[in-house]
Amino acid sequence: MRILIVEDDRELASSLKSMMEDSIGVADTFETIADAEAALLAFKFDLVLIDRNLPDGDGLSLLPTLRQLRPRPATLVLTALDDPIDIVSALDKGADEYVGKPFEPMELIARARAVLRRYSLDETGYTQFGNLTFDLTNRSAMIDDNALSVPRRELAVLESLIRRAGRVVQRDNLEASVYSIDEEIESNVLDSHVSRLRKRLREGNCNATIRTIRGIGYMLVQE
């Protein structure tokens, strides 16, 4: 994994660099948008951390360039601006995630990993959570090296959950990902898919499990 960090505060940049290198991969730091842009065009990065208040402008101005890159790096905006208007504008412009300063180091790493997991699923069709591997291209799942046999609908549930692993997926969204609009959904059919899937994961000695969040939905967590 190669990470690009755009942060004009040198101390912070170096802390971020060591944090990322300890947990995710090699990181390069840049202080200006111009330098970062040049690096992005010259090298391939998997994850980009962008600060907003930079000497030569708003870090969000890098987003259009990022969007055009193939493969496109996962983007995490790291900023002190937490006005809802700022957050919405960052996400609208194509940022994958928005982390407000100050942050808990563990929180930032977890968010970065989640973004990378989604990014990897989209770019390579393949992602991992704990000892669970999900292969979108072959529509299969594995626990460690053992193939897990999962029916189509349950696999769709698993895909939605793994895309947002560590976060709650609302019932409505899960139902929408499993069933088409015109299909009749009985109220407890999703619950039975989830409980069967949960059983399969447990029996396969998976260290990821599905938690029920009452009244909201489900969440894939690592135990």
């Binding site: 101390e11 002190a80 937490d82 300063k101 180091p105 976060r167 609302q170 009244g215 909201i216 969440m219």
Partner: protein, 460 residues
């Protein structure tokens, strides 16, 4: 008591009617003044022709066939009376066989009457009597060629002339016409003013109603605006621009302050991981978190007090569910289960989604921080548009609850990393929504916070 709303159309119509009535009076006065200022001869002639007409019209036959003068009408009688009051006044009405006579016809006048050819149908003359000059008139009736009317020896006073002149003008229909014009003008004015004033004003109002309240949002369009309203629209738009500028300045300040405060905090927090002693580190991490929280909530409060919220109709259940979902992972790390309850159907309330988000964030963070020993946090949305958050922590004593809604107040029993502003922000947001916050005690002793939102119309 509020003053009754005044309609411009009504006001203008009233002024118009009053103006026209005044014009009528003025024109009458002017007409009469002109009459009075003309020379004596003219005056007398006008008076005399009126009397002549009255005599001509009044001549008729009674049932016995006698030729008599029967003047009809109060004003006519009055005019005849004016004349009869003068000693030199005389008249003669004759149908060839019978005559009606008043006063004495002077010889000189009698001579003119007798000697003038019947071919001459109208003649007027001056004659002298005792050195005084009088005006006389002799005419054949237009309606009945047999009737001859002659009269003279009268001169009217100013007041009498006015009276006579008015009587002359009246039957011309001038005043009737003016009345009709008056009513017609008033009617047209009401309709026209409504079209010319009320409709463009309504258009400006419609345009103003579409203002979305967002910074650098819409302006009132002055396209199609009548020239009279343009200054108002321009002033309104200028005011909006000023508000936008002030809003923008405040936003820039907050963004700057936010950056300046949070970047060092971030560095501080990251450096704390280098502290070897875990006890010291934990205390420092907690203090930093508290500092960060103060910064966040202060900025939120400043932002809330500086901007007007844009309200829309929203589904409280869906909004709350989405916001609460985001807090589940961090709650789980603290060993707290979050449970959400809401009716199947949508619960429409009027509110600002970003503000509700800030309120709920604070409510949940507050519950997680201050309710030590909390295991379950239940957030409920009720049919009545109430959002209820119940924890199973130690609760807040009744006497402290009111105070908790003011900034920088923390419950005595609180954990140490909160700022005590969470509930104050919640209270402020609910106030801005026209709703309310109510703190209570849960069955197990925990805290119950009820946020009551104004309900939106069901059909929106």
């Amino acid at each position: 008591m509020t003053p009754r709303p005044r309609s411009i159309a009504f006001l203008v119509a009233t002024v118009l009617v009053q103006g026209m009535a005044l014009m009528m009076v003025l024109s009458t006065v002017i007409t009469i003044t002109v009459l009075l200022l003309t020379d004596t001869q003219g005056r007398e002639r006008i008076g005399l022709t009126s009397v002549e007409k009255l005599l001509q019209d009044g001549a008729s036959y009674d049932p016995a066939g006698k030729f008599v003068l029967d003047v009809d009408g109060v004003i006519a009688e009055k005019i005849i009376q004016f004349s009869k009051d003068q000693s030199e006044f005389w008249y003669l009405v004759s149908d060839g066989t019978q005559s009606i006579l008043h006063g004495t016809v002077p010889q000189s006048a009698q001579k003119i009457i007798d000697e003038t050819s019947p071919q001459v149908i109208f003649s007027q003359f001056y004659y002298l009597k005792d050195q005084d000059r009088y005006f006389g008139l002799r005419t054949w009736s237009k309606e009945d060629p047999r009737i001859l009317v002659a009269l003279g020896g009268v001169s009217f006073s100013h007041a009498e002339t006015v009276f006579v002149a008015l009587w002359q003008i009246w039957p011309q229909g001038l005043y009737h016409l003016l009345g009709v014009v008056l009513v017609a003008t008033a009617t047209i004015a009401v309709v026209a003013i409504k079209r010319t004033i009320a409709i463009p004003v309504r258009r400006v109002v419609d345009s103003a109603e579409q203002l979305d309240g967002l910074p650098n949002g819409r302006r009132i369009s002055d396209h199609d605006t009548p020239i009279e309203l343009k200054p108002m629209v321009a002033a309104f738009n200028t005011a909006l621009s000023r508000i936008d500028n002030a809003f923008e300045a405040q936003r820039n300040f907050l963004a700057g302050a936010s950056h300046e405060l949070r970047t060092p905090l971030t560095k501080l927090r990251l450096k704390l991981d280098l502290v070897q002693d875990p006890d010291v580190r934990d205390v420092l991490v907690r203090d930093t978190a508290r500092l960060a929280s103060i910064v966040t909530t202060s900025l939120q409060l400043a932002r809330l007090s500086g901007q007007s919220l844009t309200f829309t109709s929203l589904d409280l259940a869906a909004t709350a569910r989405a916001i609460i979902a985001e807090h589940v992972p961090s709650a789980m790390k603290k060993g707290i289960d979050i449970e959400f309850k809401a009716p199947e159907e949508r619960i429409w309330v009027t509110g600002s989604e970003p503000a509700i988000r800030v309120a709920l964030d604070n409510l949940i963070v507050n519950a997680m921080r201050h309710a030590e020993g909390t295991e379950t946090l239940v957030v409920e949305v009720l049919h009545s548009g109430i959002l209820r958050c119940t924890d199973d922590g130690p609760g807040i004593p009744a006497e402290e609850r009111e105070r908790m809604l003011k900034p920088f107040v923390r419950g005595n029993s609180s954990a140490s990393d909160g700022t005590g502003m969470g509930l104050a922000i919640v209270a402020q947001i609910m106030l801005a929504h026209g709703g309310s916050v109510d703190l209570g005690e849960a069955t197990g002793g925990g805290l119950v916070v009820n946020l009551a939102f104004p309900q939106a119309a069901k059909d929106t």
